[in-house]
Amino acid sequence: MTQTRLPGGLIDRNQPLSFTFNGRKLQGYQGDTLASALMANDIRLVARSFKYHRPRGIFSAGSEEPNALLTLGEGADADPNTRATVVPLREGLVARSQNHAGPLGWDLWSVNDLAAPFFAAGFYYKTFMWPRAFWEKLYEPAIRRAAGLGALSQLPDPETYDKGFLHCDLLVIGGGAAGLSAALTAGRAGANVILADEDLRLGGRLLAESDPLDDAPAADWVARAEAELRALPNVRVMPRTTVFGVYDHGVYGAVEQVSDLPGAALRQTLWRITAKRAVMATGATERHIPFRDNDRPGILLAGAMRAYANRWAVAPARGKVAIFTNNDDGHRTALDLQAKGVDLLGVIDSRTGARPFGDYPIFAGGRVTGTSGRRGLRAIRLAWNGREEELACAALGVSGGWNPNIQLASHHRGRPQWDAARLAFLAQGGPEGLIPAGAAAGEGSTHHALTSGHHAAADALRQLGLTTPAPALPRAEDRQGGAEAFWHVPGKGRAWVDFQNDVTVKDIKLAHQENMRSVEHLKRWTTLGMATDQGKTSNVTALAVMAELTGRSIPETGTTIFRPPYTPVSLSVLGGGDTGAHFRPTRLTPTHAWAKAQGALFVEAGQWMRAQYFPRPGETHWRQSVDREVLAVRAGVGLCDVTTLGKIDVQGADAGEFLNRIYANMMGTLAVGKVRYGLMLREDGFAYDDGTCARLGESHYVVTTTTSNAGLVLRTMEFARQCLWPDLDVTLISTTDAWAQIAVAGPNARRLLSRVVDGFDLSNETFPFMACAELTVAKGCPARLFRISFSGELAYEIAVPARYGQALMDRLMREGADLGVTPYGTEALSVLRIEKGHAAGAELNGQTTALMLGLGRMVSQKKDSIGAVMSRREGLAQDTRRLVGLQAVDPARPLPAGSHLFREGAARDTATDQGWITSACYSPHVGGHIALGFLEEGDTRLGEIVIAANPLQGTEAACRVVPAQFVDPEGGRLRD
């Protein structure tokens, strides 16, 4: 420890803590922040600036910090751009500076500062325009290396994150005087209250001030208030919780820092808080006053200096300290520092009539016009009483007034309003139910903060119908700020406005000269207000400087609004801890574990994981496996888990009529025990889903949908049931998950199934193509059997309760060993249906009609149904493209899906475009590549050669137009 440690403070000197900064072992105390501990070790240079690599020190004492961005931790745990001002010191903390080449004190990139005249705002935009190709490979990497903040570890974040939801009557954002007052008011009234504060300790500025409350230290009152709040069952106190954004419907986003320790059980939680009302007691951030070379380490916000002295018992430097202010608050810092024994040079007050509040020198009407000191402040240049002189000074506190922290009130496009009396933007409009209080409402004194906090809570609760008892608030100081507008010290040299982005008064001037008159343009052109601090210490000052330069008022110049997040939020916590395989939910089929044991590879189909194919030993390419599976189905029998197809139970007296209106084709006439293929249209007449509909009883149907449209179809049907035809007596229940469904396809399908059904006659006569039945299998297991075929082979789909799915698959495999039974996956399924010419998702892509699919006659003229009328409209009814089969002239030449079709010799452009390929595969049955596609008048062009072109990859292949059914076009196999 050094002489910068002061007496008193809210640190525990009985708990020393060791930490390192740039490898140097240092010590602080429990209760310190990393910033206060560095200051206590007399470390002033902690960072390099973004662009010019200027030496930078700690500037603030809160989350607004623009300079002291450090990297904490090592390896995968390294956390860059962490504000030292908000990191509680802990034993073993490892911190290092960032954005420098070589040691921090001898940064080689500081050569940029010498070249500063060339690096004015807009430099990059103007300089690196040519040659364009150089940007990505040369310019950008070079600029990124030289200018920037911290670097990511590039390793996965090993820490644990969580998410959650909270609900309350009143959310109090900020635990300072106003926030505590609001929480006490609402808590005592019995409201459900959440009190969130970004700091480790409640109290806000009360912890940073020396003023008593009720003649006792403010921290005592804070402790009593916190104890009372924690004892109330209706109040949740959440320190280290930053409310970073306001979203629709009263939802507030917040991040709770649960632990800082690497490997802790939980690092952060993302909370979505639904609040009926909220009090924005977010305090205020002090402004600085730009003057020449105002960015040296040792120059701090005056209020921060006071906070370090009072709360953390640390002086900003060894040696004399001066204050430069345009308001009375700067004098408070002087008084507090003096009381702590700091050697005070005096107060430089820009107001000509300013008087001291104590026994210290005052330079009324003075200005700081420059500074010196290479790695830290050594002297200031004072202009006062018509002369300029250099004064030795180790630290300078600057106070240009306070900006209410109104960021959250801007999140619903609320535009702040300038208050000329307070010289501050105040919240206006913004999120409904968000009430500003305390310093955030422009109420600077503690007395006003306490009372406005109470009034805000009482107002909020009144709106909710709750009454609040009269408050017993402590007596508190009630000073006024007395600020007089003084936005910057004119003069030569660079005067920083935005420290984090190295934006100076000159840059703002230049922006104005370049016609960046809108504040939004100014921000984007100079990068002012960007990055981690989002301009908390610079935005308003920049606006005022711009107003001054242009001779306009601040309201005339404009304002700026703020977007979430208030302070940086890590992507990890936004993800809520769900990463990798669990980033989103997956659905597994009943035979998933079995398929995995067979070595299946899986493919995502929506949320489902489906077996794609089942490689066997010796197969080195997926095509070998798929070809084998396809041929096995055509020659013997194959099994495929088709549970993922949507299943909707439709019951009720009007079920038939309901389905007539849902399907384009007639469904009400379907006989019990029969299945019919059905097509559904959208309201606009385009086809959107197909499948089968089985009638199990007089008023009981089962609708089967495609896997990807299962949810959409159910939603559409529910909408129709509830909103279009509520008069129909019909009920819909999704049973997709309830039944494990297995396709049994191939010439041996009947023989195989006959070995598992319980005395059920599967003969063609009793159970023909498109029959269905409820039966039992395997000695009593309830089942549903449908004789339908997607492959064109003799095929069935058998469904059993999901719990028996795996056992049934196992049984069928065992019973079918002598029949050549083979499991097949979605790839073979796709090849089989392309060979058979069945439409699937690629053909039903929302842009095709029943006519195009060759299913025009399915749109019944005898009844109305969703989309029927619109399908007959001009433009749809005249579409001449038709689904055809395409067979590669060179069988070995693939026909890529997505290829467009052209006549031989025609140009390859949209004017000559004849259609496109929807699905393609290698057909082991045909012995070559085949495809399905839509072709202009395709149904009349059988035998013609067309060109499948892929202009993106520059490939082409000739193919012959053929019927879509490559297998058994007469349909004999599936009816046998």
Binding site: T160, D162, K163, G164, F165, L166, H167, N192, V258, S259, A264, A265, L266, T269, R272, T274, G577, D578, H582, P585, T586, R587, L588, T589, P590, A593, Q607, W608, T643, D649, Q651, G652, A653, Q722, D729, T731, I733, S734, T735, T736, D737, A738, W739, A740, T776, V777, A778, K779, G780, C781, V800, P801, A802, R803, Y804, G805, Q806, A807, L808, R811
Partner: protein, 183 residues
Amino acid sequence: MTDLIPMAALGATPVRASFGPLTLTEEEGLTLVSLALPVGFDASVTEVPLPGPGGYAIGTTSVFWTGPNQWMIETRDLDATSRALAPLPDARTTVQSDGWVSFRITSEAGAAPLLDLVTKLVNLPADQLAPGRATRTLLHHLGCFVLRRSETEMAVLTLRSAAGSLWYVLSGAAARIAAQEAT
């Protein structure tokens, strides 16, 4: 009795795991039946309680509301339930036992651990999580039912196919709470 061997949602047998005061168990032997009644039905003819929106009638046969004129019945005696529903000839029932997985969550330390857990899972206010309430909601992007059976017991139901994802979320959240409590 079939000789096919049934599987639990996550494997051969139902899962069960404890995390501090919380125990998560996949429920077995519970039959779920969805019930729908036509508009204008007479509820007085059946003993089966038919609660209103958000309601959950807890008993030997429990019933919770799932939509207008629709309920889900939890029963361990399907025959008795069928008899109870017999006076409602227009009732449409669909056995849903295999359509859903139900994870029972119990607390050995009162309601607080349960509420801590549910706070991390679903966006529901306290009154919708009170004993005797059932709510259909989203959890980890999954549609689910959250049933509060008592101060110290709740159940979460989701699609059986998504049982693995739900278990990941429930057990992960419970484990994090337990680990936090332990530190």
